[in-house]
């Protein structure tokens, strides 16, 4: 790749590091204005004042605030967020254990968004005012008028009435609960170990949560793909191809498709932030037991260290996702890759 693109990526990466730094400052500042003493919380109500004071010293709560922040940051960079005030176990262990569940859900959601959103957007552009256009309008409307938790509940209700055997809660059938694979992703582990029954059960459990999470994004991606297709259709080189008699199908999928997938990809980066947020809600509705549910629990219990870790890891997700998208766009669109970074 051209050096301009590499430079562009480096600049983006630096920007993302700034994002994480500011995020860490905000969450740290927030954690220090909380009413209530973290040391008291860690020790429980039965502990004596001396014990709590000893804990305060151990946790470094009486040190100057800047020193505390630097310590927090140094730990965070090394993946150490201290111990949970509730369970007493390292926060990071807990998050790593639960991360695959959430990642599996989020990745399937993203795939669903692309697999459904882009082709439907293409169809809506090709057959304007046809059924795909109507579908687009309905899905976009649901996306802006229904919060993810409502979509999730309605899907559950639908399944309860019409698909009586469909699993409504959890990640996998209870017979497979004890199953443990090397990665923690049920689909990947199932495939690796040749256990198709596990893959099937995992997919079945994934379907509704992923759909609930994806719906808002699908509408947006459809709309963007559609308008990009229509705009690109007017371009000279596309018009030339058509006037040479190249079949519509080939024009659409060989030439327009790639060009038109840039806009929806760009939006996916921003979409990712709300996706993480909504994962909290959808995991709760479907008892998913992932990282987001854990975050919610920590928030409910005021487990400060865990909350800070959850927020930082969410921010990291977002940043990495956007970097990946930047690279993807560079791969698809040589104009961005070859041009000086903007």
């Amino acid at each position: 790749m051209a050096s301009g693109f590499v430079e562009f990526l480096i600049r983006r990466a630096l920007g993302f590091i700034a994002v994480l730094l500011v995020l860490s400052m905000m969450i740290f500042a927030l954690a220090r204005v909380v009413p209530g003493d973290p040391a008291r919380m860690a020790m429980g109500p039965a502990a004596s004042a001396e014990q709590v004071q000893a804990m305060r010293e151990q946790m470094g709560l009486d040190d100057p605030i800047v020193e505390q922040y630097v310590r927090f940051l140094r730990g965070a960079v090394q993946g150490d967020f201290g111990i949970s005030l509730i369970s007493g176990r390292p926060v990071t262990d807990e998050i790593l254990r639960l991360l695959p569940a959430t990642l599996e859900l989020v990745i399937v959601t993203l795939l669903l968004m692309i697999v459904l959103g882009v082709p439907l957007g293409v169809l809506a552009a090709r057959y304007r005012n046809g059924w795909a256009d109507t579908l687009l309008r309905i899905v976009s409307m649901i996306g802006v008028t229904m919060p993810a938790f409502l979509v999730a509940i309605l899907l559950q209700l639908f399944a309860a009435y019409y698909l009586s055997d469909w699993p409504l809660l959890g990640r996998i059938h209870q017979d497979f609960r004890s199953f443990e694979g090397p990665t923690g992703f049920y689909i990947v582990d199932g495939l690796l170990m040749g256990r198709l029954d596990i893959v099937g059960s995992a997919l079945q459990h994934l379907a509704f949560p992923a759909l609930a999470l994806a719906l808002a994004g699908i509408g947006q991606i459809m709309r963007l793909t559609r308008s990009a297709m229509i705009e690109n259709l007017r371009r000279d080189h596309v018009q030339t191809l058509r006037s040479f008699g190249v079949p519509d199908r080939i024009v659409t999928f060989r030439y327009l498709f790639k060009l038109s997938s840039i806009a929806p990809l760009t939006i996916m980066g921003l979409e990712f932030a709300s996706l993480i947020g909504n994962a909290f809600v959808v995991e709760m509705v479907f008892s998913w037991g992932g990282f987001a549910s854990h975050g919610l629990e920590s928030i409910m219990q005021n487990d400060l260290n865990a909350i800070m870790a959850v927020v930082m890891v969410s921010g990291l997700f977002f940043v990495v996702a956007n970097l990946v998208i930047d690279i993807l766009i560079g791969v698809i669109d040589p104009r961005i890759r070859l041009k000086e970074g903007h």
Binding site: L23, M141, I153, Q156, L157, M284, V285, V311
Partner: protein, 293 residues
């Protein structure tokens, strides 16, 4: 012929503003949105007089009528302690609109001021403000609101604060884009040469050109704030019971699914109606002003 002369609109009268109004008036969807928004506002303002059982908005308990299905007395049924769901949905609009007013009342002026300053002054001001805005845009809003909501005690005012904390970024970005292009126009230069102060140029020359985008974005945002607030209280982090909030009503009703579907369905319809109203109105305003947000 005289009557024809009266009905025809002479080109002098057809100002941009009048054209915009004509566009809005001839758009049935926009009018429907405006009507729906007015109805939500009306319900919120006069909830005590409209709601069939106004006392049910609070901590009322009437176990005799608990979990009754929709009927002539309770059009939308009752909840787990016998409160009329329709009444609570009507009062729920009050909470939703208060949240909208609070959040946007904080976020829009702050965002607009920062966007204006960045677009007009340029240089370091621009660099710092756009940089900070971009950083804030990258924070998942729900996660941050959850964290703030968990730290502060759960009241309506704190929920507003938690949401507004990240909301201004979108307005800052939007106003910045418009202000930057307007600041390069000749009339701004002319005002500067005529000796106008920065304040005068910002408020009287540039801001009026941003009003269209701000009002469209604010209307569309109202719907998002309602969704956001409902999501927070659904998770138990927004507004505390017994305040009738649409999100927490859904959370309450969810425990009794699928048999007592009305406990979820009607609050959900309330959310849907309010957000649809602001979306339709916002789309209509967008077509009217012919702007991109």
């Amino acid at each position: 012929m005289a009557s024809l002369g009266e009905t025809a609109i002479s080109p002098e009268i057809l100002t941009a503003r009048r054209m915009a109004w004509l566009r809005f008036r001839s758009n049935p969807v926009a009018l429907l949105g405006a009507f729906m928004v007015l109805s939500v506002v009306f319900c919120a303002l006069f909830a005590p007089f409209i709601a069939p059982y106004p006392e049910d908005a609070g901590n009322m308990i009437d176990f005799a009528t608990r979990h009754s299905a929709p009927s002539a007395e309770h059009w939308a049924g009752t909840d787990k302690v016998g409160r009329d769901i329709l009444s609570r949905v009507i009062f729920g609009f009050q909470v939703s609109l208060l949240l909208v007013v609070g959040v946007l009342g904080l976020a829009v002026p702050v965002g607009a001021a920062l966007g204006l300053a960045a677009g007009y002054f340029g240089g370091w001001t621009e660099f710092l403000i756009t940089g900070f805005t971009n950083v804030m845009l990258a924070i998942p809003p729900l996660v941050m609101a959850l964290a703030v909501g968990s730290v502060l005690s759960q009241t309506l005012v704190n929920a507003m604060f938690a949401i507004a904390l990240l909301w201004w970024t979108w307005h800052a970005r939007l106003v910045y884009r418009v202000a930057k292009s307007v600041a390069a126009e000749d009339f701004v230069e002319a005002a500067r040469l005529a000796g106008a102060s920065h304040m005068h140029i910002l408020l009287r020359e540039i801001l009026p050109n941003c009003v269209a985008v701000i009002s469209v974005k604010t209307t569309l945002d109202a719907a998002f704030v309602i969704l956001f607030g409902a999501t927070l209280s659904f998770l138990g982090l927004g507004v505390r019971p017994p305040t009738p909030d649409l999100g927490s009503m859904v959370a309450d009703g969810r425990q009794f699914l699928p048999e007592m579907w009305w406990g979820v369905l009607f609050p959900a319809l309330g959310i849907f109606y309010a957000t649809l109203a602001f979306n339709l109105l916002g789309d209509g305003l967008r077509d009217m002003f012919d702007v991109e947000v």
